[in-house]
């Protein structure tokens, strides 16, 4: 109720989002934090699951086409439907806090399996052969030769998965899970007599900023992990 009174007393101009943020910063920052971990946990979990699956798709070539098709199909399930489907499938209560991370992990896996398989395929055949011939075991070769070389391809996929997660988390705000998506709900609820833009614009701005920050972190991390690529660019 207090929210509404304050909102009503303020401007409804789209550019009032900063004032709106200052007025509700405790709530907004809490939602921002929710948004941060809800976007990140699925990418990390998705990568951990996608690594062995992607490896299988690379190791046994016949696995690759069906695996990629299934992953493509998973990605086409509308997010709102997936949020609703997760609790019954995973035996959770409706609006369980794990509902969103689990659904988004499915999307991340769907994106990253193919990326991991393609990244491993980008390891030159003679490099892999040389590693085996020098006495690397299979696991050791994967960890210390193939994965490091696959980093640029996998990182490109991580960027897509992370940014798309930031936008998908917001959808979960509309079914009542706390995150920046709640700002859009607020905007809708506050548009009683006319459209009330500030929380909606604030939600968009924060989502975009968050996506930019994540993207930058992944790009910098990739640069740190791949010093050998910088020397090429540097020439």
């Amino acid at each position: 109720m207090i929210d509404r009174i304050v909102a009503d007393s303020s401007s409804s101009s789209p550019f009032y989002f900063w004032g709106y943020f200052m007025d509700h910063r405790h709530q907004d920052l809490a939602w921002l934090w929710d948004h941060v971990y809800l976007s990140l946990i699925p990418v990390v979990a998705g990568l951990i699951i996608a690594l062995p699956l992607g490896y299988l798709a690379r190791r046994y070539r016949w696995v690759y086409p069906p695996m990629v098709s299934v992953m493509g199909l998973l990605y086409t399930i509308p997010s709102i439907a997936l949020f609703v489907l997760v609790p019954p499938v995973f035996g959770l209560k409706a609006l369980d806090p794990k509902q969103v991370p689990i659904a988004l992990t499915v999307y991340s896996v769907a994106l990253l399996v193919r990326v991991v398989a393609d990244g491993l395929a980008a390891v030159p055949e003679d490099v892999a052969q040389a590693a085996t011939a020098m006495g690397f075991g299979r696991l050791r070769r994967l960890i210390s030769v193939e994965l490091p070389i696959a980093v640029p391809v996998v990182a490109a996929g991580l960027r897509v998965a992370t940014v798309s997660n930031v936008s998908l988390v917001a959808v979960a705000g509309t079914i009542g899970q706390d995150n920046l998506g709640r700002l859009f709900d607020e905007g809708k609820n506050l548009s009683t007599t006319g459209p009330y833009y500030p929380p909606i614009v604030l939600g968009i701005v924060l989502c975009v900023l968050l996506a930019l920050v994540f993207d930058l972190i992944i790009v910098l991390g990739t640069r740190m992990l791949t010093p050998w690529r910088r020397v090429v660019i540097g020439r």
Binding site: D126, T132, A133, M134, G135, I149, P227, W228, V231, R235
Partner: protein, 365 residues
């Protein structure tokens, strides 16, 4: 010593890649597998370190049956060099070379100092240590490949067309250095190539394989050139094998004729007995020929630019082939002979060399 004992490789589709191959690659020697594509030479090589498992037969490494050893352990004691080097793009040159020592659990400091030592050994500047493979030329990468294979000082080296992806000049250089290195290290080497000239140049013994993985002939290079066992081998070793075989016969000490010489940088003399003068530098190393009747106008001293560089040099005590080639390639018809340090000894003519060749034939028959 590596011994193939009736080794056969048949693929599931029925293709026979290697057919009952039996041969021995003696310790400390270079054995070359050579043949057209599809002759099973690479398959045979890869069966030694079990990159490919034989369908039948046994490969012995000294007195051990290789199929009884753990594959990774076996491979760490066998150096392996391949065509495009196959360096790890994400590791520095130093860490690439130290790969096997790391795998064997050497401490980092020892592995790296060994790697640095090898860089010098294969002729790489040590300031390349922190570079990445992509910053090196093909020939330099191949040197790193050889250094990497040598890092843990394995008794055995397998080399799969290691020099075929670099340009001819660099290839020649790498081959020479490889022979020099081998004369110091004395590894047991199995070397695969499709290039018969490379096989003859590098091999202590050469195994010629024919399509379908049959061994056609196993012999020393000279024997291969002089006595090819059948039409296939004769055709494969090539047309000018009579001439190339001379490369394996020593000319003995050539009785040379003295040459009139002039030093580089000296005034151009007015005449000589036949209009040609041999130009040498201050160390008495031959530089080229000077043709007195075609000196460009305005030249008064002997400079690099006016030399005729047609002739190759023969080393005293070298092969009949190099002696004959020196004579044939010389613009004066006189081949220049030098001593072991590259200093002028004198000259020989083609007919002198041919006399030696004919004398040799008479001794043999």
């Amino acid at each position: 010593m590596i011994r193939f004992d009736s080794v056969t490789k048949t693929y599931p589709d029925g293709t026979v890649a290697v057919d009952s191959l039996s041969l021995e690659a003696p310790s400390g020697k270079i054995t070359v597998f050579v043949g057209p594509s599809g002759c099973g030479k690479t398959t045979s090589l890869r069966m030694i370190n079990r990159m490919i498992d034989p369908t039948a037969g046994t490969i012995w490494l000294d007195d051990k049956d290789t199929s009884q050893l753990p594959a990774t352990e076996l491979r760490r004691q066998i150096g392996y060099v391949i065509q495009h080097a196959g360096l790890f793009p994400h590791r520095t040159i130093l860490d690439n070379i130290a790969t096997v020592p790391y795998l064997l659990g050497w401490d980092k400091k020892k592995a790296r100092s060994r790697a640095l030592e090898l860089m010098e050994r294969v002729g790489l500047p040590t300031h390349f240590a922190k570079r990445y493979p992509v910053q090196l030329s093909g020939g330099q990468q191949q040197r790193v490949g050889v250094a990497r294979a040598l890092a843990a000082d394995p008794p055995v080296m397998l080399m799969d067309e290691p020099f075929s992806a670099v340009d001819p000049v660099v290839r020649d250089q790498l081959q020479e250095e490889f022979l020099r290195l081998q004369s110091e290290l004395g590894k047991t080497i199995v070397f695969v190539t499709h290039d018969i000239d490379e096989a003859i140049k590098l091999g202590d013994q050469v195994a010629v394989l024919r399509v379908g993985g049959h061994l056609a002939q196993l012999a020393s290079p000279a024997e291969l050139l002089n006595e090819p066992v059948d039409a296939f081998v004769a055709g494969f070793v090539g047309r000018d094998r009579g001439y190339r075989a001379l490369g394996f016969s020593t000319a003995g000490t050539l009785s040379t004729r003295d040459e009139e010489t002039v030093r580089l940088g000296a005034d151009i003399p007015s005449g000589s007995s036949d209009g040609w003068l041999l130009v040498v530098d201050d160390q008495a190393e031959p530089q080229g020929w000077l043709r007195l009747d075609s000196i460009p106008a305005g030249s008064s001293t002997v400079t690099d630019a006016i030399l005729h560089r047609g002739g190759t040099l023969a080393r005293q005590g070298g092969s009949l082939r190099s002696a004959l080639d020196a004579a044939l390639s010389s613009p004066t018809g006189r081949g220049v002979v030098v001593d072991g340090d590259g200093r002028l000894v004198g000259s020989v003519t083609a007919s002198q060399v041919l006399e030696l060749i004919e004398g040799r034939e008479q001794v043999r028959t």
